[in-house]
């Protein structure tokens, strides 16, 4: 692919979250001239505020997710703090039944899960107390989101790719059936191909090019404790929570209700709320031996969601040089694979390693126009301002 003039790049990626940065890195690795344009600082949206979980056994990208994470530090040349495997603890029979799905999905794709009894769990998880049972998945795992964002960014630059921060993309220039330029708050850039990977903003940006990407945003939050002695396996969760013990020793967990928001109402900052008490309550029940640990921080983030909760990775028919990637709340773990899929779509129009047919925009052709209200995905009614 040729470079589209000095003020531009062969491929411009809008969005410096994990999806856009991974895509940019994969492209740069191939020698493609790529420029990632980010409205704020890289990873300042959901990509720097998530649970770090990498266990998406329902996804067509699962096998590639599992293949890439264990080698990602080496591929990127920078640490991501990836740690393999996941233990999921059920405190009651119902949780035990619901959590079984991961075993089934994993098994079907060739991955092993051991069923654990209470005694085995207490041996593996020193913070655990009375439990019903659980699972040890010999797949999945977790990584540090901040370090991963930065690792993609540095690796991308090592391969000659460029990143422009604090430059919101405002609009596009088109010629015929093609996007030829990207206008930012700072200056305009020419491009041969455009990737929109702008998280919750993907819908509004794609709409400017006549492409409909149904999306709604939600806020979710997590809590973090002070560092504790390291457990053998950091990826332990369950009891309605997701999360991990970080490599430093902090317990970082989230879960529970999300809040549907109109992004323009949020002022850009995601606040944590009193929900942290409910998260703490469940974490205390999951890890009674860590009840004394002090909670020292919380955070919240805005998450992109499609109507069925499944990612969109697609190349619409028109414009002919556009690729869309938005991950619908599971984008951190899938990012190594999603970036590779985007690279494939940009370069050859199809994904060479996975069947993306369930992630296409075509599935929404018959979606009701009022889908948000029909699904109840509405912000709380006005009042109490």
């Amino acid at each position: 692919m040729s470079r589209a003039g000095s003020e531009g790049a062969a491929v411009i990626v809008v969005g410096g979250g994990v999806t856009g940065l991974s895509a940019g890195w994969w492209l740069a690795r191939d020698g493609t001239d790529v420029l990632v344009i980010e409205a704020g600082a890289i990873g300042s949206a959901a990509s720097g505020r998530n649970g770090g979980g990498c266990s998406h056994h329902h996804s067509p990208l699962f096998l590639e997710e599992q293949r890439l994470w264990p080698m990602l530090d080496e591929l990127l040349g920078y640490p991501t703090e990836f740690r393999p495997n996941r233990i999921r603890i059920a405190l009651d029979e119902r949780q035990f039944r619901l959590y079984r799905r991961a075993l089934e999905n994993g098994a079907r794709q060739g991955y092993r899960t051991d069923v654990l009894d209470a005694k085995q769990i207490r041996a593996l998880v020193p913070f655990a107390g009375e439990v019903y049972g659980g699972y040890f998945h010999h797949f999945g795992g977790h990584a540090n989101p901040h370090r991963t964002v930065q690792a993609y960014a540095w690796a991308l630059q090592d391969h000659g790719g460029r990143i422009l921060q604090h430059a919101p993309v405002l609009g596009f220039d088109t010629r015929g059936n093609r996007v030829v330029g990207v206008r930012t708050s700072r200056s305009a850039f020419a491009c041969d191909h455009l990737v929109i990977a702008a998280g919750p903003a993907t819908g509004a940006l794609a709409a400017q090019l006549g492409v409909s990407v149904p999306l709604m945003s939600a806020r979710a939050e997590m809590i973090v404790t002070e560092p504790l002695a390291l457990m053998q396996t950091g990826g332990v969760d369950g009891n309605g929570l997701y999360g991990r013990q970080t490599l430093r020793g902090n317990l970082a967990y989230g879960g529970g209700p999300h809040e549907w928001v109109e992004l323009q109402d949020t002022g850009g900052r995601a606040y944590s709320t009193v929900l942290q008490g409910s998260i703490a309550r469940r974490l205390r029940a999951l890890f009674p031996q860590a009840a004394h640990a002090r909670v020292i921080r919380s955070w919240a983030g805005f998450i992109e969601n499609t109507p069925d909760g499944r990612p969109v990775i697609d190349r619409p028919a028109s414009p002919g040089n556009l690729t869309i990637a938005t991950l619908s709340s599971v984008g951190f773990g899938l990012s190594p694979a999603a970036g590779r899929a985007v690279r494939d779509l940009v370069v050859s129009g199809t994904c060479g390693f996975a069947d993306l047919s369930t992630l296409g925009l075509g599935r929404f052709a018959g979606l009701e126009p009022g889908w948000r209200a029909l699904q109840g995905w509405l912000p709380a009614a006005a009042g109490g301002e």
Binding site: A41, Y78, G240, P257, Y271, G277, L283, L374, E385
Partner: protein
Amino acid sequence: MIPPDSRPHDPASVIGKAPPIGEATDLLVIGAGPAGVSAALAAAGRGVRITLVDENPVPSSVMGEEVPLQFGARMSAVVANRNAMLEAVFEANPQLAEALERGIDVRLGTAVWGLFPQRRTTRWIGGHVAGLADAQRAYLLGFKQVIVACGRRDMGLAFQGWERPGVMGASAAYRLAKTYGALDARTAVLLGAGTEALQIADALAAQGVRIAAVIEQAEAAGGPARLLARLTGRGTRVLTGRVIREASGDARGVTAVKVAAVDGLGRDTGRALETLECDTVLLGVGAVAAIELIEASGCAVGFQPQRGGHVPVLDASQRTSLPYVYAAGDCAGIWASKTLSEAVACREGAIAARAALEALGVRGEGEPEEPPVPDWPPRDVALERLAWVRASVLRAPGRPWVCPCEQVTCDDILSLRPPRYLGGQREAAETYGLGSAAPAAVPDPDMVKRLTRAGMGPCQGRRCREQIAALLALAADRPLADVPLATYRPPVRPLRLDQLAQLPESPAMAEHWDSWFGMATQWVPFWRVPSSYAVATRCTGEPGAGE
């Protein structure tokens, strides 16, 4: 309250899950120092419910974490006796008894760890709520108006050995001495010679602490000559153009400091180091407004040199950008004449109280007072902080931790080095360094924090925040005011999991708790996904099954 909402809503969302709020007040006043007490007293007797909370006495285990101030392990054993401490706090502040008599609900030993105002994205909670905690409990308190009068803390400053017991914040020493009667210090040196520092040294000297020396990096002491003369009259040496190069000591803590003479750029002049014997080092290089609650709740904050650094943006009635949140006293700004006269903070409290009462529908008596005006021209706190960090931290031999909780040095920060627990993988990032993570922008302390972990420990960044901001400004050669403020998040006090877990929740919360979005369609494995999606034909599953 939220009006009944008849639209169908996503059962896995927050709607309908507001926590039951057991208690409510009309006016919440946080902090029972001069500003907070005068606000509460000014509003008393006008028919509104007033709740005055103060975190003192702070549980001794929390003090051991250097929260909310850097106590430097100089608490005497009596701090473990909670009843004695409660009595001490009452005795130190006679106005608290008056507040009780006038019907104010006074809660001591109670910290506010979060303010959760109603805003566009938290309508589901149904009102303004504060998170409170005492030594055992954590609970929620509804409020209508809040006056934040949380005071100040001390800027940390690294030098070799500054993590030793005995190195403590000047206001921490004052708190221990004046409020608790529990300061375990005999001979101290004071670092910093501004008004706040000298005032504290003077008060401690009056209580019998020997202040061996005042050490100031600048050519001259910034504080009032009168206070300086009182100290020198008691035998204190004033050493300007000096910094501490090392605090040495034994298991009990500091026994001596080595002092170096520095030039205007903070470089050693080559003169021999002087050793001073002491058991305590008082950090008085910068008084920092305690804005953590204010900032975490979303009030606009700006760097205002005349108010001593980052402070809430206020109108003439001490009101922040959130119309029901006010700030008064040191957390609204620190300047010399305010430090020297309590009346200024009290006036701010009274002004805030009047505005809060009016918002509650109670008309004020007489004309509203004019808000206090900071001294002019302002003292340049930005330059002072930069000079201290340049002379003490950047030039420190032996590379002390700037962030003692996470053991991060100034070099680690400036080269964005990953943390020590990564072992061999640490060096990877060095090829890039500070500029690379955000080229063309002022380095963002939040980004630096995430990559180096500086500021992410149990003291919640209290000891390193200002140093990190100054280091970034020095590295980028930009004014300190250009460095963005690292955000604060609740809980702004470390809170045990089993305490936070006590917050009440509605039955609906437990009935429909899902680890992630509770969308059945999201988790259908790709080999079973139908080729088209519509709401009418989607599959719905049972709650609780998110991954």
